[in-house]
Amino acid sequence: MSERSAPADVLVVDDEPEIVAPLVEFLAQQGYRVHSADSVAATRQALDRHDFAIVFLDLMLGDGSGVDVLREAQGLADPPEFVMVTGHATLDSALAAMEAGAAGYVLKPVDFRRLTGLLDRVLERRKLAAENARLQSELTERLRESEALLGIARTLGETLDVREALRRICRELARVTGADSAAAYLYDAAQDLLQPYAAYRAPAEHLATLAATPLPLRSEGFFLPVWRAQQPVFSDDVTADTRFHHPLFRAIPHQSALLLPLILNGEVAGAFYLVWWKARRLFEERELTLLENVGRQVGILLRNARLFDEAERDRRRLRVLNEVSERLAALHDTAQILSLIVNEAVTLLGVEGAGVRLREGDELVVGAVTESAAPVMTRPRLRVGESLSGTVVATGEPVVVEDVTEDRRDDDEHRRAAAALGYHGFAAVPLRTADGVIGVLSVYARARRRLLPDEISLLTTFADQASLAVERSRLLQATQAREREATKLYTITAQLASDFGVDRVLDLVTAGVLELLGCDAASVYSFEAGLGGLRFRCGRNLDPRLTRDLVLRPGEGVAGLAFAERRPVWTRDRLHDSLTYSPATTRLVQTWAPRAFLAVPIVRRDEVFGVLVAYFAAPHDFTPDDVRLLSTLAVQGAIAVDNSILFEETRTQQVRLSQIFESTSDGIMLIDHAGRVAAANALAAELLQTGVRVGDTLQDILGTTPVSLAEAWPEVLREMRALPPTGWEGDVETPAPAARALHWVARPTLDAAGTRVGVTLTLQDVTRDREVSRMKSDFVSFVTHQLRTPLAGIKWLLELAAEDPSLPEEARGYVSDSREAAERLIKLVNELLDISRLESGRLTITPVSVDLGAMTREVLAELAGLIEAKGHTATCSGTGTVIADQQLLRQVVVNLMSNAVKYTPPGGTITVRIAPDGDTVAWSITDTGIGVPVAARARLFEKFYRADNVHTLETEGTGLGLYLVRLILDQFQGQVRYDSTEGGGSTFTVTLPMGGAVA
């Protein structure tokens, strides 16, 4: 069952339902479509209606015997297999059934296991029988065909000559079909005709017609299904058949005919025409099919024959081409390649001569020519488009000429030469590369003939190979040239890079020009602004006597023009150009006479530094390569000049910097971000009393120096990136015996772009400064003491004198004046001392909150005597606390108040006001005094300055009071300003930061 895909019909015949039911059920389970019948009549009906695979048949039925049904069924086209079902198996009945053709029998009640085995056997037997029948029929068919085809195949297998093959097939066809004569035709696409190729048993009187006349297959109404349906067409009465009305068929009187198409690649490639002169011949379908097969077979054989032919020819040509190709591959020289190509072209095509012209710009130049073609290819140069070869290059299409001597397109000289040599046939094909047509390959033949398409195709193939070889050779040459160039350029560049003298560099460049361009001389002119022109700088192969004093104006000559226009300028021949030359150049030219110049500007930092010139003694066509090379050298030269100038500058700068670095009075160390010494001067090491080398870490140095920087510097190192721009600083003492005072400053090191790259540590030996400072301080102290001591003596002794009651009145006045003078002197000394301290910053200032009102009133009280003496009215209003040094602030108040008292004419008014002003306190004093002259305003707070008008009041003063006021106020963010008119009184206002409550 497994081999069957569609369910088979089976019939169960029995008159006992208890037998039928389980059998039907079992068979249905096995996948059969089960029918049943209970009588002979019903069985006959069922057998009429269906094709059963198996019939289970009861031997004994009510209306007759099962064996009868079995016998009858054997007459059916495809009788089913019978399995007899019997209740009482007798040998007789079983034998009868088997003899009648039963496949087997089962006993009732049915043993299903046995039945399964039986079913398989029966079905297998049935399948084999069917297969055998099919094979039998196929075999018979094949045999027939095979016999016919074998005959034809044998025929064709014996020869690959198409004509002979067709003749033999005609014979075989005649033999197979019983035709009297046969002819074979092949289709000629060019003329759209069936051309006669072979004939078999053509009667002599019809030979010309049957075997030599083309068959106009598609014209003149002869349109048979042959053409479209590709099927044979036949007639047993040709003369009466309208399809055969063409005169050709009328010309050969025949009774029957068959036209058998010959199919090749799905198209009609030819036909066989079979003729029965007298007999009427009709064809059965099967016969026609066979003939069609024959037609196809012949098509294949025909194709093979053709392919073989072509392959044979191609193989021959390919061999030659391969040989040529191999030989071409071994050649690298263009001339040799071209020579090989022309010679091989002659051999391969069997022509007389060949030549190649290669394109050079708009011209075609003879590249190679066979000896035989040399006299005809006499013109060395042709323009593209001119003559036949020129046309090929211009159009990119081959030209084929039957007789070149008569072709009007060709130029006369060529035609005459060809005629003289007896050359007629001519063909020329383009040499193509990816970049276009690079030349033309021409061949000459003696024969007056057009080269066949095949030959042109071959020539083209040849030309393609030649093109590739030429291109490759040119590429190779270009590559080699570039390689040589690159090597030379590299050598020159390397030399340039290692040389740092400008003149040496330029000399190398000119040497490079000679070597790379292969020119006769070279020179460099450099522009000199002072001369307003180009001066000869250096050169090779040029007479220095001629060039020494040469100055070229911009725009003059090749070099001047290259300079002025900043581009390469050249002349092929200076005797035949339109450039203007200076008299100097003309002189030079007359003496030495170089003819061709090429000049390129040397541009350094966007400025034309000068011009590089190459000279050729003879006229020279400068190629783009020449210009490129010279420009490259100019660029290299410019870079080298630039480098050498930069190098000089850098070296000078470096030497200078290094001198400064080493001669500075400070020790300097540059520490990078890794904490390593990037640079250090000798003094740094000396001051630190340890070795300091580039690359040492700061930790190394701190570990070896006896100077105790270990607290400050590691902090500097840690905060390196966060260091404020002003840096950090500190002081340190070096241990004895050196015992020096060092002041160090750490500041961020910035690179040119302003990026922090580390820290600069500066060490300053301040030992001497400290000494000087101390000495100065001691000196001030000493002087103060020395001045004050006698002054105090004078003061005290005068005081004693003044208190002497016995002192005469007049003397008492003198003593009083002397005391006043002494007081002035003491005041002056005190002020000078204060100023000295304030200026040197050595005064200890203790800013505290000060009650300015109380202080003012105290001072006012102290000055009461003076105020009263001058008859002034003085008042103080308001109050406020400020942040200041008590002692120093008091001096400010005293100075300003005593000024007001002093510089106000008797009977004046002095008003002090104290008021808060934002976060400051304003203390102002207004007087009705002499005021500040306009001229004095700018200098009022200067040391030792006194306004002109102070003398009007005969007051004493040192010119230090206001200076001291300003100096003191500067100490604690105080300010002083004034408003005054000369003679109109003044107001001096002091503002100070507001203080808190006074304790």
Binding site: S781, G793, I794, W796, L797, I826
Partner: protein, 127 residues
């Protein structure tokens, strides 16, 4: 006013010494004069004084040295000292204050009257 207290005036400048001693005696003080620090120390060790008026800058032994010596000896560790100096070096002043003094005045800025008042005032304070 009774000013019978004994004062030691240490002053190397004879004009100052003379004027100062005269004025203080006029005010009724008993004044013993020393011309330098050496003499001053000798006197202090030998006699008793209510107050020492001490100059700072003196030959041989300076005022500060005298003060240090006084403070180093038990007998004089609490002896009131009034510095009278024409030098006003801050560090000297600071050290003197640390060693213990009853005042520090610049002679040129002081009148004899004011000096007498000061001495009287300080004696009153220390007694």
């Amino acid at each position: 006013v009774s000013h019978s207290a004994r004062l030691l005036l240490v002053e190397d400048d004879r004009f100052l010494r003379r004027a100062c001693a005269a004025s203080l005696r006029q005010r009724g003080f008993e004044v013993v004069e020393a011309v330098d620090g050496e003499e001053a120390l000798r006197l202090v060790r030998a006699e008793r004084f209510a107050l020492v008026l001490l100059d700072m800058l003196m030959p041989k032994v300076g005022g500060l040295d005298v003060l240090r010596a006084l403070r180093a000896e038990e007998a004089t560790v609490a002896l009131p000292v009034l510095i009278l100096s024409n030098s006003s070096r801050e560090q000297d002043l600071a050290e003197a204050r640390q060693l213990g003094i009853v005042g520090y005045f610049v002679k040129a800025d002081l009148s004899l009257r004011a000096l007498g008042d000061l001495v009287a005032e300080r004696l009153e304070q220390v007694s």
